[in-house]
Structures are given as structure tokens and as C-alpha cells.
């Protein structure tokens, strides 16, 4: 956690509002589009960007639990909902239908896609960029979040020190893990309280509360190109949402699934889902050529 961002993506050069809008749209559509093709597109987009931005190692590590989850939901769904028309197997009184398995697999894939989108978003919208978005509207909340964020690692570090200190003095070492936990918590509490007094002084010494209207330092500025990108994303997302809703309205799992057909209406959603990966790929190629 040495630097703020551990990866570079196409969103680096934008104001954080642009990736925020993009991921909000991608996640919202992914959640509501319960249709095999849409789920496949969303999953492919999320997975591709995860490979591009988070790297294959972290992505594969995530898939280690995500793939079994898809399988689990696919298997579990028929056990709970016995709907459909194409019988696959009969387990005693329980009928397993093909539609039910498809529904489960689709739901599992959707879940994984949404999780992946969130992970992608967290990778691009690091906490400092996210806080900038709310800085103007919620200055105090932003500041408190910022303070809390720097104190969490400090607290964890101190917990380790306190634990080491209480355990190392044998003649006084606490008996039992509960006693130990209480003592560590107690110690941490008094340490933090003492610190907070000094921190409050440091804040007042630097003019905290000097004026009613604090100003707001934002390292990234919102340019017209950001507005343009934002508008483009909103338009594309709106078109995708409309077409996806059409696709979803014509789709049902039960009692029988209609046949999937190739349709131009999927194209905007495909563009939306794969856009950041394509931009990233473009950058990689350009850098590859330069180098």
C-alpha cells in the first residue's frame, strides 16, 4: 500500500466522476439484466477489465472461489425451485429441470459479474479519488472518512505492539485469551484517546474551526473533456439499458426458454462492457510500439 494506485488504466487521465459514472452504469445494468446473453456480455466485460487492470494473478485468485460459486448456485437452484418443462433427472420425489439449472447458472454468473464489476471499480476508484467526489457536497463526512482511513492502519499496527508488550512480560502476562483480548483492547483505547487529544490540538493549531466556510482542495479538475466523456458514457449506458430491457422482456426461463438469436441490439451493451478494456488495450499497443 505504498502508492495510492497500484495499476494504471484508461481512467487515469479522467476526473473521478467519469469512472464513477461508468461503473455505476455497468453495475446497475449487470444487476438487472437477467438474460443469458446480457449476463455473458457483462461477465466478459468485467473479467476482461479485471485481467487488464488488476492483473491475471489477482483475477485468477478471485475465480478460485467465484467459479465454484456459479456451480453451486446452478446445482442448488433446481433443488429449491422445481419449475421448468425439460426433465433432466428424477431424484426420488424431486424433479430436476433443465430450465431450473439454466436459471441457477445464469444467476450465479450474474452474481460473479457484479462482484467483479465492484472489484474493478474499487481498483480504479481508490479511496482518495472517491472522497474527492463527495468533498464539495459532504465536506465533514469526507474529512472524517479521510481521518478514519489513516487511523485504521495505525490502530492495527499498535494492536500488534500492545499484544507483543503484554505477552512479553511473563510475570504479568494475562491468563487466558479473553483476559488478553480485554487487556489489549483496553490498552489500545487509552492510547488512542490520549492521541486524540493531541490530534485535536494539532487541528486547532492549524486553524480548524477558524472560519465557517472551509474551502476544498481537489487535486483533479473537471475539464470539458471529462464532461464529454461523461455525456458519452451516459448516452451509451442509456441506450444499452433500453436495449437490454427489451431483450430481458422477451426472455423467460420458465416454463420453456425461447431460442437465443443474434441481434444488433446487443452491440451497444457489448461496447459499454468492453470499452475500458479496449481503451486499455489500445494504450498497451501504443506503449508497446513506442518501446
Amino acid at each position: 500500500m505504498l502508492t495510492m494506485r497500484d495499476t494504471h488504466t484508461a481512467f487515469d487521465t479522467c476526473h473521478p466522476a467519469v469512472p464513477a459514472a461508468y461503473f455505476a452504469a455497468a453495475i446497475l445494468i449487470a444487476i438487472f439484466a437477467m438474460q443469458p446473453v446480457c449476463v455473458a456480455i457483462s461477465l466478459a466485460g468485467a473479467l476482461a477489465f479485471s485481467f487488464a487492470a488488476r492483473g491475471w494473478r489477482r483475477t485468477l485468485k478471485g475465480l478460485r472461489w467465484q467459479l465454484p460459486m456459479v456451480a453451486l448456485v446452478a446445482v442448488a437452484n433446481p433443488l429449491f425451485s422445481a419449475s421448468g418443462s425439460t426433465l433432466v433427472a428424477q431424484l426420488g420425489p424431486m424433479a430436476i429441470y433443465q430450465e431450473s439449472i439454466a436459471y441457477g447458472a445464469c444467476a450465479g454468473a450474474l452474481l460473479v459479474a457484479v462482484v467483479l464489476w465492484f472489484e474493478d471499480a474499487a481498483c480504479v476508484l481508490t479511496q482518495d479519488r472517491l472522497l474527492q467526489l463527495g468533498a464539495r457536497a459532504l465536506p465533514t463526512v469526507t474529512l472524517v472518512t479521510s481521518m478514519a482511513a489513516q487511523m485504521v492502519p495505525q490502530l492495527l499496527d499498535r494492536a500488534q505492539t500492545v499484544r507483543a508488550a503484554t505477552l512479553a512480560t511473563t510475570a504479568a502476562a494475562p491468563q487466558g485469551s479473553r483476559d488478553r483480548g480485554v487487556r489489549v483492547a483496553d490498552q489500545l483505547m487509552s492510547w488512542s484517546m490520549e492521541d486524540s487529544i493531541e490530534r485535536a490540538d494539532a487541528m486547532r493549531a492549524r486553524g480548524w474551526g477558524a472560519t465557517d466556510c472551509r474551502s476544498c482542495y481537489l487535486p483533479d479538475s473537471f475539464r470539458s473533456s471529462d464532461a464529454l466523456a461523461l455525456a458519452g458514457i451516459v448516452l451509451l449506458a442509456a441506450a444499452s439499458a433500453l436495449l437490454v430491457s427489451v431483450a430481458c422482456s422477451q426472455w423467460r426461463f420458465y416454463p420453456t426458454m425461447p431460442r437465443l438469436v443474434a441481434w444488433w441490439g446487443y452491440v451497444p451493451y457489448m461496447v459499454l462492457a468492453l470499452l475500458p478494456t479496449l481503451l486499455d488495450l489500445g494504450q498497451r499497443i501504443r506503449w508497446g510500439r513506442v518501446a
Partner: protein, 479 residues
């Protein structure tokens, strides 16, 4: 015109249940710091230096009765508006950990300016210029939690200077830093003083490293302040190893026993904090002889604290053996005494472990007398000065009568008197036949108490010698 002027100032803390008639902390103090000066405010811990500094900053001034006038650039500081005050007088505190407010460096730099409602364009310019002056560009977008203590203290200085105060007050700014970080910090402070023309007043109990940059010095003693030459001010605060009783040969029989079974030994110890982390210790061998004081010196992040935690068993090596014959009777003093102080009064604090360690009221009273803590028995340990906190923590450990004492930076933040007291205590322990392992940057302390010094470098002990021999052969370390 003086940048800071005290006109016949007296200050008394309010009466409490334990002290119905408190004596004044400062009495008829008059002093003047000329504009552009680099002034030292010296004195032992608890002498009232901090109180004096804080009186010049009404926002953080202690509660109590103030008589007289405190003037900054000819204006009574109490008549300044909060915005004026922030733009006139800056204050930097002691602890690098507790004065950082925000999570990122850029936000921390902007925090003070945001508070003053500075327009965005002006704010950007000031943050940029301050960063450039301090050479902080490489870490501008880093998280503050990832910075070292020295970097955090530098950030606190930069964030205060971003508000462009004409007078900068610093309360023991380097007492928590290691010698290298201290030099970096002072170099920056010196540049701010000479190049930006900021008047600097540093309260310190260890003025030695600042002697070359300071222009004038004051000494706070018994509530009075007097101006004196830099040499005298430094000499008055100096720690003298020779004042500690000369090392006597331990009681007969001890050395022989020590030669056979060490009080602690690490053999080929390898340690890292995570599977993907770098090795902190690489095949370290260390023997702490029975009944002796062994000192570990080494750079920042060389693994001294890790080594000590391995020595007392709170960490286990991934490879190698640690033999701890005194595991059932050892004590560990962490770098920050706050990690082991939690009771409401000093007496309660010292009684906290009485049940487990089998000592009583009488021993606690005797210990307080021995360490000069009787006067503060009823005070909250965390309200005491850093030096006194360290002594309380040390007393708490001594009461458990450990055979092996492991001390991490025991003299950090201590003034000369407290260091002398601590050195004598360590000597006494040694005479009682107890073994001590300590890690420190303080070579004067080492030369006063230690039997041997080991230099830790690249995760291993590079050399082990007697302190005199070590200092004589060292290119880097001096007393």
C-alpha cells in the same frame, strides 16, 4: 520589533482535588525573540517549556490563570482572530503519529488552508510551493500511513508552513526521531528559517544537534526564563556518561556462570513478516551473556525491534533457534510507553500487575521513591511528560523482578536527568545479576551502561565489541 515577546508573564494551572493550591508554572517571565531568529527554549522535561510555547497560541493554550502579555509581532496573541492567529503563529507538536490528520499527503498539506477558507487557486499555489521547497513531490500522492516517522514529522512541518506563518513554534519536534531523521528535519527547519525568513522557536531538552543552526537560547528553570549563550544552554542539557557510577565488576561467580549459559541466544535466526515480504533478519546470531548489559545499535528499519520481539518470544523465527532460559521471568519495554500504561493514576498503574507478580503496596511506594515518582503518584500517567511516562513504564517492569529485561529505545524522548536516572537503574540491575538487552540510537547511554555493543546491519550482527572499543573503531558513531 520582536517576533515573540513575553512581558512579565505568570501562569498557574487551575486548582484540583489533589493540588488545591498549585504553584505557578511560570513566574514573571520576560523574553524577546527577534524577528528572523532561530531560538532554542531549553530545559528539562516538565520545566514548563511546552506551557510557555502554548501560551503563544491561544487555540491550544492550557487552561489556567495567565497574568501579563504574550505578543506576536507586537500584537497580543489573545486579540488575534483565529484566521490571523493561524497565519501568524504556527505550532508543530512532538509526536509524528498523533498530529497527522488526513489520509493522503496532499490532503494533509491542504488541511490548514482549507480551514482558513483559502481560495482554491491560492491554495494550489501554496501547496505546490511548499511541496517543492521540501522536496516532497515523490510522496505527494502517498498515504500518510505509509510514511516513516521522520517523513511524517516533515509533513507536519510542511503542512504548518503551507499556511505561511511568520513565527513557527516547535514543541520537542525531534525527540521521537532517530538521529538521521532528526538531522534531515533540522536541515529543513534551518532552510525555512534562513531562506523563508520564518522566525523559529524550538522547545527542546536535547539542544546539541541544533547548536550549529540556532542564533539564541533561553533556559526554563523553576518557572523562570533566562537568556544564555548557546554553549551554556547546550552544556546545561548534556548527558554525561561519566556521571553514571563507574561500571563495577559483577559479584563473583556471576561471570563464570554467564560464560556457560547465556541469558538468551539466537542462532541462525531468519525472520520475515509475510510470505512475499523481504527478510528482516537473515541468519542472525546473538548471545546475551548472563548478568550483562548487551546493546544493539543499527540504522532505522534495520530490524532492531523485530530482533527484540523475537528475543522475548512475541515473534517466532521462520528458521533458526531461539533459546530463552528466562522465558518465565522476563520483561519487555516497548518503544512507546503508552503501549503498556493504562491505569488512572501512577500508583494504580504500578499496582496493576501486583497479583500476577506477587508484590504489594510497600514495594510500589519504595519503587516510586527510588525513581522520584512519589510526587506524581496520584496523577494520570498519560498526563506526565514523556520522560516520566518512560520511568513509570520502567518501574512497572522492574516491580515484576525479571531476570531478563528487554528494552526498546529506552532513552527516546528523555532529558539528561532522566537518562542518568535510567542509566543508574540499569547499572543496579546489572549488579543484581540480571541480564539486559537493549536497542538504542543513544551511544552516550550505551557507553555509560553496556558491557558489549552489537551492530545490526542487513539482518545480521555485523560486529560485537565492548563499548569503548566499538566507539574507538567507529567512523560513524560518537558519544
Amino acid at each position: 520589533m520582536s517576533a515573540l515577546e513575553f512581558e512579565n508573564v505568570s501562569f498557574t494551572y487551575p486548582a484540583t482535588d489533589t493540588e488545591p493550591h498549585p504553584a505557578p508554572v511560570l513566574e514573571h517571565v520576560s523574553l524577546a525573540v527577534p524577528e528572523g531568529a532561530f531560538a532554542l527554549l531549553t530545559g528539562s522535561t516538565g520545566s514548563g517549556k511546552s506551557t510557555l510555547l502554548r501560551l503563544a497560541k491561544p487555540e491550544v493554550a492550557p487552561v489556567g490563570t495567565l497574568v501579563g502579555h504574550v505578543l506576536a509581532f507586537g500584537k497580543d496573541v489573545r486579540t488575534l482572530s483565529p484566521v490571523e492567529s493561524a497565519q501568524t503563529v504556527g505550532l508543530v507538536f512532538q509526536s509524528p503519529d498523533s498530529q497527522i490528520v488526513c489520509d493522503t499527503v496532499w490532503h494533509e498539506m491542504a488541511f490548514g488552508l482549507e480551514n482558513l477558507g483559502t481560495p482554491v487557486a491560492e491554495m494550489r499555489r501554496r501547496v505546490a510551493e511548499t511541496c517543492m521547497f521540501f522536496g516532497m513531490e515523490p510522496w505527494f500522492r502517498q498515504k500518510t500511513a505509509s510514511l516513516s516517522g521522520g517523513q511524517r514529522q516533515m509533513l507536519a512541518l510542511a503542512a504548518t508552513l503551507a499556511m505561511r506563518p511568520r513565527l513557527l513554534l516547535l514543541d520537542e519536534p525531534t525527540s521521537m526521531l532517530d538521529p538521521v531523521a532528526e538531522k534531515d528535519f533540522l536541515a529543513m527547519l534551518f532552510r525555512a528559517n534562513r531562506e523563508l525568513g520564518v522566525t523559529v522557536v524550538v522547545a527542546t531538552h536535547a539542544p546539541e544537534p541544533m547548536r550549529v543552526v540556532a542564533t539564541c537560547a533561553f533556559r526554563v528553570e523553576d518557572g523562570h526564563v533566562s537568556e544564555l549563550s548557546l554553549e551554556k544552554a547546550v552544556a546545561a542539557c548534556a548527558f554525561r556518561p561519566e556521571e553514571v557510577a563507574a561500571k563495577s565488576v559483577p559479584a563473583s561467580g556471576k561471570p563464570a556462570a554467564g560464560g556457560l549459559t547465556p541469558a538468551l541466544s539466537l542462532r541462525d535466526a531468519w525472520f520475515r513478516y509475510g510470505r512475499d515480504a523481504d527478510w528482516v533478519l537473515r541468519g542472525l546470531d546473538l548471545t546475551v551473556p548472563e548478568g550483562q548489559v548487551t546493546a544493539i545499535v543499527g540504522g532505522n528499519g534495520s530490524g532492531k525491534t523485530t530482533l527484540l520481539q523475537l528475543a522475548c518470544g512475541s515473534l517466532a523465527p521462520q528458521r533458526g533457534r531461539v533459546s530463552r532460559p528466562h522465558a518465565a521471568s522476563q520483561a519487555y519495554l516497548p518503544q512507546s510507553p503508552r503501549a503498556i500504561l493504562s491505569a488512572q493514576t501512577v500508583r494504580d498503574e504500578l499496582m496493576l500487575w501486583s497479583k500476577g507478580a506477587g508484590y504489594g503496596d510497600a514495594q510500589v511506594t519504595a519503587m516510586m521513591g527510588r525513581l522520584g515518582l512519589s510526587d506524581v503518584a496520584a496523577r494520570n500517567p498519560l498526563d506526565l511528560s514523556g520522560g516520566q511516562q518512560q520511568l513509570v513504564a520502567f518501574a512497572k517492569l522492574l516491580l515484576t523482578k525479571p531476570d531478563l529485561l528487554v528494552l526498546d529505545e529506552p532513552t527516546k524522548g528523555l532529558d539528561a536527568a532522566a537518562r542518568t536516572k535510567l542509566a543508574r537503574l540499569v547499572q543496579e540491575l546489572r549488579q543484581e545479576g540480571r541480564s539486559v538487552l537493549l536497542a538504542t540510537h543513544d551511544l552516550a547511554f550505551v557507553s555509560a551502561v553496556a558491557d558489549s555493543v552489537s551492530l545490526l546491519f542487513d539482518g545480521a550482527v555485523t560486529c560485537t565489541e565492548g563499548p569503548d572499543e566499538f566507539l574507538a573503531g567507529s567512523w560513524l558513531y560518537h558519544v
